[in-house]
């Protein structure tokens, strides 16, 4: 008797997995368990259109009620899972219900890292959910002052959106530069200049020592400077949501540890998306955890197929994008371990940096430019990376040489 497929986490990853189970012919029960009341929705717009848009934002659902009904998926919202009872093969919900599974997928995502020194208050915000975005948006009126702690992607996208709403923006980054993790320095410098040109103050190299909310927010920096604001948003990264897996005794290693087929240390339990760490075959089996929309989607779909017995390996090249003002940044692959980099200029301020290993293998491509100017070449680079190609650096540099030609070589 098939108890059914249960998915914990109703974000991009969980929703995609639920659909993929049906697309691949599964006709048993599927339960999709979410913490939020909302139907599964896309998170990328939360730091962009949901804040910057002129209209009151609406959550962009990945699964409408109609689609859920058509696919025969049981969506359980507002009732987080509180325990995995492995012996009984049950998921226990906060409201006491037990949901039986034959296979279980953990797609619990990641949660914002908290800044312990920040005292909680209505003007101290983190961004993860649609409701968080609404609360931030409500305080971002024209002329309001917002401070953003953390010069990573969430913070910088929020900074750009806040400027579009007419707020005065200060970004505080403890490191010497913004985007120190995983972004080449030339691209980080381009992003910095873009924000400066749009009137954002970026204060780098200064730690935050205190954040208080006494009607006004007061942020004290290590150099004794006080920044006053009407709102502070803290964007200092995210941690994988592993508590359920941990208490169920599953192996954890910077996330729920899975093998190349996204199976956890328990045979009937899989994990996918932001919550899991997995071996990346293309990069020597190095264990990584990705916080990326496309990865969530791809791994959700792959985990679903493996829950049905397909035994497929995850082989995708990591891919990431960010939109700030009218610029878009895209990164394919991982630059760690590169011994050289070459630059391809595409005109109009758009450029791509290619990182190569000592033996000439292409490891990553990172690009930035107006609109989607770098998209096509990044996509082609991604295919070259997947093939472990060793393109001629002089051809990568010359925008006269089409990358598609290198792919055919």
């Amino acid at each position: 008797m098939d108890a059914g497929m249960v998915i914990i986490g109703a974000g991009e990853c969980g929703a995609r997995a639920a659909l993929a189970l049906r697309e691949h012919g599964y006709d048993g029960p599927i339960a999709l368990i979410g913490e939020e009341a909302h139907l599964p929705y896309e998170r990328p717009p939360l730091s962009k259109e949901a804040i910057a848009g002129a209209d009151v934002p609406v959550a962009k659902t990945t699964l409408t009620a109609e689609r859920i009904a058509d696919a025969g998926i049981e969506f359980i919202g507002s009732s987080p899972a509180v325990a995995i009872e492995r012996a009984a093969k049950n998921v226990r919900l906060a409201d006491g219900r037990a949901i039986a599974y034959s296979k279980l997928l953990l797609a619990t995502g990641a949660v914002p890292r908290r800044l312990p020194l920040a005292v909680a208050g209505p003007r101290v915000a983190y961004l993860r959910t649609f409701d968080d975005a609404l609360a931030i948006r409500a305080r971002l009126t024209p002329g309001s002052r917002v401070a953003i702690v953390g010069g990573g992607f969430i913070g910088l996208e929020l900074a750009a959106s806040a400027r579009k709403r007419g707020a005065a923006v200060t970004v505080i980054e403890a490191q010497p530069c913004i985007l120190m993790r995983g972004v080449p320095a030339d691209i980080a410098a381009t992003v910095h200049a873009l924000h400066a040109a749009n009137g954002v103050e970026i204060a780098c190299g200064e730690g935050t020592t205190a954040i208080r909310d006494d009607g006004d927010v007061r942020i004290r920096l290590a150099n004794e400077r006080i920044i006053e604001a009407d709102l502070v948003v803290i964007g200092i990264g995210a941690a994988p949501a592993t508590a359920l897996a941990e208490s169920a005794g599953l192996a954890i290693d910077n996330g729920i540890a899975v093998d190349g087929r996204l199976r956890t240390s328990a045979a009937h339990i899989f994990a996918a998306g932001d919550c899991c760490s997995f071996p990346l075959a293309l990069y020597g089996g190095r264990r990584v955890r990705l916080e990326a929309w496309r990865n969530a989607q791809e791994q959700g779909a792959l985990a679903a197929r493996n829950m049905l017995g397909a035994e497929l390996e995850h082989t995708a090249v990591p891919w990431f994008w960010s939109d700030q003002y009218d610029f878009s940044l895209q990164i394919a692959g991982l630059a760690d371990g590169a011994s050289s980099a070459v630059r391809r200029d595409l005109g109009g301020g758009a450029f791509i940096l290619f990182h190569l290993a000592a033996d000439g293998q292409l490891l990553s491509a990172s690009g930035i430019g107006p609109g989607n100017a770098v998209a096509r070449d990044i996509r082609l680079a991604e295919m070259l990376i997947a093939r472990q190609a060793r393109p001629n650096p002089s051809e990568l540099i010359s925008s006269d040489v089409k990358l598609k030609k290198l792919l055919a070589a």
């Binding site: 995609r16 659909l19 929309w293 989607q297 989607n372 998209a375 096509r376 996509r379 598609k404």
Partner: protein
Amino acid sequence: MTDWIEACGAGDIDEEDVIRFDHGGRTFAIYRSPDDEYFATDGLCTHEKVHLADGLVMDEIIECPKHNGRFNYKTGAAKGAPVCVNLRTYPVKLKAGKVYLQIG
């Protein structure tokens, strides 16, 4: 019968590539296939309104530059997540080295 609109020269599009064409407040994507045929669709992806002319053409597939939604540009068929709504296509003809669209 709707008129044919002159969009571009046949040589303005590389083989297995795409360009943008704007007309009457609307925007389109015009494709040249690897076997040298021409096709046209609406310009914006049905998922997030991103222009497809910045995307990658591989064989008969156009891939959205942002979220990798894929369509068959000959038929407009959506090829799976994240896109589920087909792309509208338009008749194309070649005449004296020019590409014409019927976009009525």
